[in-house]
């Protein structure tokens, strides 16, 4: 089988998260593929708009939910702009799952702190639902999520659902100036809210995704709270084409983001050359 040939998928649902971000719910057209498809939280795929090209996003849904996958994307470039123009019933392509995954098995029996900014909530969401679907296998669950403004928050319906759960501690924030008159959440940059939330580091893992500047300022806060670098996980992005290690584009030093990542611990990232 030609490894570059995608599976065909039908767009079953489209949710406009923000003015430029959408979530697609997708199902495989081939029932055999649909039945056999498995993935782990953190893995990504190459999504095709035939005639425009492919683009790389994580799978934003949890592996515990079978029969469909979800992806969320920002319309930033050529292919994502054309994805945005598609509707329910349209066909796209999917190659994957590629890459490594978040260490769910390792995290079981521990607390998990999720920190995300903007569209960075998409890869984190896959893990969040994976954890919540197996809730009794984890201790405390804390979610700290922020975006530039209220309008930029994604998965609003799920934020509302997590807010009312007793087994989840949710903090939502917007950047100073991004609040609306009726905003009830925090106001402040995500790293500041992490500091305020002060999640306990004992027996805990952290999953952090968001804009590079957010990660840059969040990691020291987590370190100060006592999180070990080996217990903090994040995802790295790089320009990708093949997604499976052949086209030579996504490497950071000897590390191929598509094969050794996209999930990395803070300790692994520290060892990377400054090339991302």
């Amino acid at each position: 089988m030609n490894i570059y040939q995608p599976h065909l998928m039908r767009i079953d649902e489209v949710v406009a998260e923000t003015s430029d971000t959408q979530t697609f719910k997708l199902s495989f057209k081939d029932p055999q593929v649909a039945q056999q498809f498995k993935f782990l939280a953190g893995q990504f795929g190459e999504y095709s708009v035939f005639g425009e090209g492919e683009c790389t996003f994580c799978i934003a849904s949890s592996p515990t939910r079978e029969g469909y996958i979800e992806c969320s994307f920002k319309a930033a470039g050529k292919v994502t702009q054309s994805l945005k123009r598609l509707s329910v019933g349209d066909t796209i392509g999917f190659r994957g799952p590629y890459g490594n995954n978040f260490p769910l098995e390792q995290m079981k029996g521990h607390s998990v702190v999720f920190v995300a900014g903007g569209i960075g909530l998409a890869p984190v969401r896959s893990v969040i639902w994976n954890v919540l679907d197996l809730r009794d296998q984890f201790k405390n669950v804390t979610i700290i999520y922020g975006a530039r403004s209220v309008g930029d928050l994604v998965y609003k319906r799920e934020l509302a659902a997590w807010a009312v759960r007793h087994d989840v501690k949710l903090w939502t924030t917007v950047d100073p100036g991004g609040q609306t008159a009726d905003w009830k959440g925090e106001v402040g940059f995500v790293p500041a809210i992490v500091e305020k939330a002060a999640p306990v580091a004992t027996d805990a893992y952290a999953v952090v995704c968001g804009p590079p500047v957010m990660i840059k300022f969040t990691l020291p806060v987590l370190a100060k709270l006592g999180f070990a670098e080996e217990r903090i996980y994040t995802t790295l992005e790089n320009r990708m084409k093949c997604g499976l290690g052949k086209c030579g584009r996504c490497n950071i030093g000897p590390v191929y983001v598509c094969k050794d990542g996209p999930v990395f611990s803070a300790a692994q990232i520290k060892a990377l050359p400054p090339e991302y």
Binding site: M1, N2, I3, Y4, Q5, P6, L8, S48, F50, G51, E52, G53, E54, A76, G77, T80, G89, D90, T91, G93, E237, N238, R239, K241, C242, L244, G245, K246, C247, G248, R249, N251, I252, G253, P254, K259, P273, P274, E275, Y276
Partner: protein, 350 residues
Amino acid sequence: MNSKSLSLAELAALVRDLNASGTSVVAPVPTRSLCGADYRPITELNQATLNGALPRRSLKELFLPASEVLLRYRLKKNDVELLPVPTTFTPQVILGARPCDAAGVAVLDRVMGWDYRDELWFGRRAATTIVSLACPGFDGVCFCHAVGLNPDASLGSDVLLVPRGADAYWAMPVTDKGEALLARGTFADLVEPAEVTAFRKAAEEKVAKNLASLPSGFHTFMAQSFDHPEFKAIASRCHGCGACAAVCPTCHCFDIVDEPEGMEGGARRRNWDFCATCKFTVHASGHNPRATQNERFRQRVMHKFSIYPQRFDAVLCTGCGRCVRACPAGMDLPEVLGHLYAAQAAGGVS
């Protein structure tokens, strides 16, 4: 199978036999290029030049074309039909391949088979028999010896030919495929004659003079030398043009694009791409992890001499020297390597 003796006439007959049976034969063919030859199909042996001309491009494009269709798609309302491309190919024999080129193909097998098997690459590999012609040492640039090969290396070859005078060859089968090819004729057995041994030894000595071998632990030293001052201004004259990667037997980076064919569909293609170019790693946001030419050139050297050896236990360079000859700005990989050897010696091997 024993090694054989082949006369020019016998080789010519083999070429005719292969063509007649539907197997195409590719060989260095003289062109008006400054290098002297290109790999082209031949129907008669006398169309080829087996006298040492170095084809201006490597064998790479016979296995990874400069632009290759990965699949075709037809667009319908709400639906898409995918039309796969064949992964089996017409048999071909490459006659008179340079050992540096044959080795390049074998080195690339590793990344092409890394977890995901590239059936287009391996389909072409399966259909191809490579008959290398031992090289007398091309010029003062090439450095196959330095990267662990030699002008008579058989890595990647199915048969190795060594010239005996102007009209005969000694043929050493290297693989089963090579034996199958030689079995098509009735060639006399010939133990390696002294003249062949002498030719090979002289060639090796000639090339060994061009550049010292990679020091032990070189790829580890390189991995630790990301911020070495050697790289600070290494690429001031480099244009980022990609000519080096275009002619290189082991550069394999590619782009994937969709292009229309007619009104109703198109083809998804992979095209050679070049890490030397400024847009190679640029993100949709505009951020570029390798923002200047120095960083891009460093990546080139690292990929070949550190990353690929670390991941695949092979140097991503066969020392053919084409990059040096093709570069319009005088970038010189053996010179760069020489400086890095000195840096390693100065800093101590780790």
